[in-house]
C-alpha cells in the first residue's frame, strides 16, 4: 500500500465513503474556481486535487486536518468557489475541503438578533430564513445566490449594506475555527488570535466552521433608486453628494452596459442603490436624492424600474455572455481617485482592444470597491494569455494612486508586499505559528509555489506579466 492509498483508506475509515471522492470527473471540476484559467497555469501548478472531501461537521474538519498533518498533504478549503483569485485552486494537488455540506442554520437568538450558522450556508438561504423573522442581514455579497458565509469571512467581506452597516467583520460576534493542526478554537474580538486577525485570511490560517452573525431589525421602509447620467463624471459627482447628504443602504455606480472602446468617447453611467429606514426618513432622503440627481443633469428612473434594478442586484455579470470571457481585478480605492482610475481602465481597454465595464461599490464617503471588467475570449489562448496581463496593469496603477487589492489568493499575491507590507508580515508570522508545515491552502496570498513546492518569487511573476503585456503589442 502506498502512502496515498493508506491516507485514503484512513480518510474513508474515519469519515465514511460517502464523504470522500477520487472520481476523475470530480477531480476535473474541483480543479478551478470562478475564473477561467489560462492554459499555461496548468504547466506551473498541479491544479488537480488528489481527493475531494465533503465534511458534515466541525469534527469531520478536525479529523481531516489531523490526518493531513500526519501525511503532510495540503488542504484547500472551498466554499462555492465564486471568488476569482484562485483561492480554491490547488497548486500542488492535495485535499479539496468542500464545505458546502456544512449548511445548517443552527440558531436564531430572537431577542438579541444573533444568528448562528455553519460556514457552508449560502447567503440566500439566510435571507430566506430571515423573511419569517423581524431581523435582516446588515450586509451580504452580490454573489449571495451562491456564495457561502464562511467564504466571505475568509475573503473581503464588503457587499450590499456595507456602506451603512460596515463590512462583514464588524457584523460577526463569534466564530468557531479549525486550526491547521486540527485544534478547534472559538474566536471573538478579545481572543488570541482575534476575529480581525483571522478574518480575510483567505483560507491559509484556519477553516471557519461556525459563525455567529449580528442581525439588524427590519426597517419600516425600503426604497430602491436608480439614476441615469449622460457621462460618468457627472454620475460620480452626484454619487459623492448622495454620500454626503443621505445614508443609503448601498450605492453602486456603473458604466452603462460595456463601453465599446473602438468608437466611444465618454460613457453613459448610472447608479443604483437603496434607502432603508423609517418611512419619513426614507422619503426625505429620496427627496434629497431627487434634487442632487437634477443638479447633475441626471434622470431618476421611475420607482418600479428602480425596484427591478435592485432585484437584479445579484446579477452583476450579465454582460459576460458578450465576452464570452472576462478578465478583471478588484481593488479598494480612494473615492477622489475613481475618475482617474476609470479613465485609465478605458485607456487600457483601448490598448488591448477589449471592451470594458466598470463597477464601483461605495464603502464609505472616502473609499470604494472598484471592479473593472474586460471582455475577452478564452478560446483564443494566446490572445487570452496576453490580455490576462491587463489584470496586473490595472492593479499596478490602483496601488500607485493609494488603492489596495481586494484579495490576493493565487493571482494577486505579489502585490501584498507593495500594497500592505505590514499585513503581510503579520500573516507570515501567524502562518508560521499556526501552520508550521504549510499545509492549509499553501502557495497563496503571502507567496506562491509552483510544482514540486518550488517558490515562485513575486517579482519574477510580475516581470513575466509585464513581459506578456509588452509582447502583446508585438504580436
Amino acid at each position: 500500500m502506498t502512502t496515498s492509498d493508506k491516507f485514503l483508506s484512513e480518510l474513508i475509515n474515519r469519515l465514511g465513503q460517502e464523504y470522500v471522492s477520487v472520481d476523475s470527473l470530480e477531480k476535473l471540476v474541483y480543479a478551478h474556481d470562478f475564473a477561467a484559467l489560462p492554459k499555461f497555469v496548468k504547466l506551473l501548478f498541479n491544479t488537480t486535487p488528489d481527493v475531494i472531501v465533503r465534511p458534515k461537521s466541525t469534527e469531520h474538519v478536525t479529523e481531516i486536518m489531523k490526518l493531513a498533518n500526519e501525511y503532510k498533504i495540503p488542504v484547500i478549503p472551498r466554499g462555492s468557489a465564486t471568488w476569482g483569485f484562485g483561492g480554491t485552486v490547488p497548486v500542488k494537488g492535495g485535499i479539496i475541503l468542500d464545505l458546502t455540506g456544512l449548511n445548517r442554520i443552527i440558531h436564531l437568538d430572537e431577542k438579541n438578533g444573533l444568528l448562528t450558522v455553519e460556514c457552508g450556508v449560502v447567503w440566500e438561504d439566510v435571507i430566506r430564513f430571515l423573511r419569517k423573522t423581524c431581523w435582516e442581514l446588515p450586509t451580504y455579497p452580490s454573489s449571495a445566490l451562491s456564495s457561502t458565509v464562511g467564504g466571505w469571512a475568509a475573503t473581503g467581506g464588503i457587499g450590499y449594506g456595507s456602506l451603512k452597516y460596515g463590512p462583514f467583520v464588524k457584523n460577526v460576534v463569534k466564530v468557531t475555527a479549525v486550526l491547521p493542526d486540527g485544534r478547534v478554537i472559538v474566536v471573538d474580538d478579545n481572543s488570541d488570535p482575534s476575529l480581525s486577525q483571522l478574518f480575510g485570511s483567505e483560507g491559509i490560517l484556519c477553516v471557519f466552521t461556525e459563525l455567529t452573525l449580528k442581525m439588524v431589525p427590519k426597517n419600516e421602509a425600503e426604497m430602491p433608486f436608480m439614476a441615469n447620467f449622460s457621462n460618468f463624471a457627472n454620475a460620480l459627482m452626484a454619487a459623492q453628494e448622495v454620500l454626503r447628504l443621505t445614508r443609503p443602504h448601498s450605492l453602486v455606480l456603473r458604466t452603462f452596459g460595456f463601453v465599446r472602446t473602438k468608437d466611444y468617447v465618454e460613457s453613459d453611467a448610472y447608479f443604483f442603490g437603496c434607502f432603508n429606514d423609517n418611512r419619513r426618513d426614507v422619503y426625505e432622503q429620496y427627496l434629497k436624492l431627487d434634487s442632487i440627481v437634477n443638479r447633475y443633469r441626471g434622470y431618476l428612473v421611475p420607482e418600479d424600474e428602480a425596484r427591478r434594478e435592485w432585484e437584479e442586484r445579484f446579477y452583476t455579470l450579465r454582460i459576460k455572455k458578450w465576452g464570452p470571457s472576462i478578465l478583471g481585478n478588484e481593488f479598494i480605492i480612494p473615492v477622489h481617485k475613481i475618475l482617474d482610475m476609470v479613465r485609465y481602465c478605458w485607456q487600457l481597454g483601448n490598448q488591448a482592444h477589449l471592451d470594458v465595464e466598470v463597477e464601483v461599490m461605495f464603502i464609505s464617503k472616502d473609499e470604494a470597491l472598484m471592479f473593472p471588467l474586460f471582455l475577452c475570449d478564452e478560446r483564443k489562448p494566446i490572445r487570452y494569455l496576453m490580455s490576462a496581463a491587463i489584470a496586473k496593469k490595472v492593479l499596478d496603477v490602483a496601488i500607485k494612486v493609494g488603492g489596495r487589492p481586494y484579495g490576493y489568493g493565487l493571482w494577486n499575491f505579489p502585490f501584498m508586499e507593495i500594497a500592505e507590507p505590514e499585513k503581510k508580515r503579520e500573516l507570515e508570522r501567524m502562518k508560521s505559528t499556526l501552520d508550521s508545515q504549510n499545509l492549509l491552502n499553501p502557495g497563496k496570498t503571502i507567496g506562491a509555489e509552483v510544482m514540486l513546492g518550488l517558490p515562485l518569487p513575486g517579482k519574477l511573476y510580475s516581470t513575466f506579466m509585464d513581459g506578456v503585456w509588452v509582447l502583446r503589442k508585438v504580436i
Partner: protein
C-alpha cells in the same frame, strides 16, 4: 465528431461559473458533488470540447458511463436555466448532450430499454398500444370516437395506462362533455415522443411526431388539448422542431382550457371552503410559462388557496422529470419526498397539480407518509366539485 451549434458553444464559454444554478439544482441538493451540478456539467463540457468547437468523441468515450450518468441524473426541471446569470439555455444544452451520448451509445441501460420500448410498442409501458383506450372501460367515461371534431383530447401514455391517474382522463372527458365541446380521442394515439427527446433519441421521436400530427390533422381539429405537460411540450414546442414545420392546430394544456371556460362563464364551479395548495409542474409552469391559468381555476374553487414554499417559476421538481425515475429511482424518490414535505407543510387538505406524473409521484409519496395528504389533478378537482365524478 459532433459540432456544437455556434450559439450553444458561446453559451458553454459564457457560463460564468457563478454557481447560482448549483444551489437550486434538486439533484445536486441530494448528491452534493460539484460534477452533478449544472455548473460542474458546464465546466466538464468545456473540458471535453476539442479544438474547432467539437465535442471530442475520444474524451467522451474515455469518461464513459460516469460522464453519461451526470447528464442523465437530471430532472430537466429548468431551474438552472431560470436562475442563470448569463441567460444560457441550459435545457437546450442538456438535450444536445443527451443526443450526442445516445448517438454514441453511452446512455444508461434503462434509457436504452425505454427507447426500445417506445419504438416497439408506441407507448412507454411496453403495453399493446391497442389497449391504450382501456381506461375508457375501466373508468366508465363517456367518450366519442369521431372522424372529425373541433378538439382532440390527447391523453398521453401515463394517463392512459397508469391506473392511479386514469381518473384524469375521466375528468377531462367529463368536463369536455359538460361544456358540450365537439371533441374526440385519436383512434390510434402514439406516445408523444417527449420521453425519446429526453433520451436523446431524436430520430425515433420524429417518427412518433409525424404519426401523431398526421392523426390529429386528419380529424380537422383546430385545437388539441392534453392534461400532460410533457405531451404539451412535445406537441407545442418539440414537434415544430422535429418536423421542421408548425402543425396546423393549436395546442392547449387542460388548465388553459379550464381557465377559459371559467372566465367566459361556460363552466361555473361552486365555491367551497376546501383548503388547497398547488404544485407547479416544471414543464408546465417554468418551462411553458403556464402559471396564471391553473390559479384562475383554483381560485374559482376556493378562497383558501395557499401557495407553497417555492412556486410559479421558482417551483421545485417532484423528482419525476427528465426520466430520472427510470435512471435513478431512489434519487427521484428523495426529491419527491422533499417536495412533498414542502407542499404538506402548508397544512391544507388537498395538494393539487396539473400533471399526471407529478400527481402520481406525489400521491405515491403521500402513501408512504403518516397522515399523507390527498393529491389530485386540477381537472379531477373541478370535475368532482361540479359533481361529474
Amino acid at each position: 465528431m459532433f459540432i456544437i451549434p455556434k450559439l450553444q458553444l458561446e453559451d458553454i464559454f459564457a457560463c460564468a461559473q457563478c454557481g447560482y444554478c448549483v444551489k437550486k439544482c434538486p439533484v445536486y441538493y441530494f448528491l452534493g458533488w460539484e460534477s452533478t451540478s449544472p455548473r460542474g456539467k458546464m465546466f466538464t463540457l468545456k473540458e471535453i470540447l476539442g479544438n474547432n468547437s467539437r465535442l471530442d468523441e475520444q474524451k467522451i468515450h474515455k469518461l464513459g458511463k460516469p460522464l453519461s450518468m451526470r447528464f442523465f441524473n437530471c430532472t430537466f426541471c429548468g431551474l438552472c436555466k431560470e436562475v442563470c446569470h448569463v441567460e444560457v439555455d441550459l435545457l437546450e444544452i442538456w438535450s444536445k448532450v443527451r443526443e450526442v451520448l445516445y448517438e454514441l451509445g453511452i446512455v444508461p441501460e434503462s434509457i436504452i430499454k425505454l427507447s426500445e420500448t417506445v419504438k416497439q410498442s408506441k407507448n412507454i409501458y411496453m403495453m399493446d398500444n391497442t389497449s391504450r383506450m382501456d381506461w375508457v372501460t375501466y373508468t366508465g367515461a363517456d367518450v366519442n370516437f369521431k372522424d372529425s371534431a373541433e378538439v382532440v383530447y390527447f391523453v398521453g401514455c401515463i394517463t392512459s395506462f397508469s391506473g392511479r391517474v386514469q381518473s384524469i382522463a375521466q375528468a377531462v372527458s367529463s368536463l369536455l362533455n359538460y361544456v358540450n365541446e365537439d371533441w374526440t380521442l385519436l383512434k390510434d394515439e402514439w406516445c408523444c415522443g417527449h420521453p425519446l427527446v429526453l433520451s436523446g433519441a431524436i430520430r425515433e421521436a420524429r417518427v412518433l411526431a409525424f404519426h401523431n400530427v398526421e392523426m390529429i390533422e386528419s380529424t380537422g381539429a383546430k385545437r388539441v388539448v392534453t392534461g400532460c405537460p410533457g405531451c404539451y411540450l412535445a406537441l407545442k414546442h418539440e414537434y415544430p422542431r422535429l418536423l421542421g414545420k408548425k402543425p396546423k392546430f393549436e395546442v392547449l394544456h387542460s388548465s388553459q382550457l379550464l381557465s377559459t371556460y371559467i372566465t367566459s362563464g361556460r363552466l361555473v364551479v361552486p365555491k367551497s371552503d376546501i383548503t388547497l395548495t398547488y404544485h407547479d409542474p416544471c414543464e408546465l409552469g417554468r418551462i411553458s410559462g403556464i402559471i396564471r391559468e391553473p390559479r384562475v381555476v383554483l381560485q374559482s374553487v376556493t378562497d383558501t388557496f395557499v401557495e407553497p414554499e417555492y412556486f410559479g417559476r421558482e417551483s421545485i421538481c417532484c423528482g419525476s422529470g427528465g426520466l430520472l425515475k427510470a435512471v435513478n429511482p431512489s434519487l427521484a424518490e428523495s426529491i419527491a419526498q422533499r417536495r412533498y414535505g414542502m407542499l404538506a407543510s402548508t397544512n391544507v387538505e388537498v395538494i393539487v397539480s396539473a400533471c399526471p406524473t407529478c400527481v402520481q409521484t406525489l400521491a405515491q409519496t403521500a402513501t408512504t407518509m403518516q397522515n399523507g395528504k390527498r393529491v389530485i389533478d386540477l381537472s379531477q378537482l373541478i370535475a368532482e366539485r361540479i359533481g361529474l365524478m
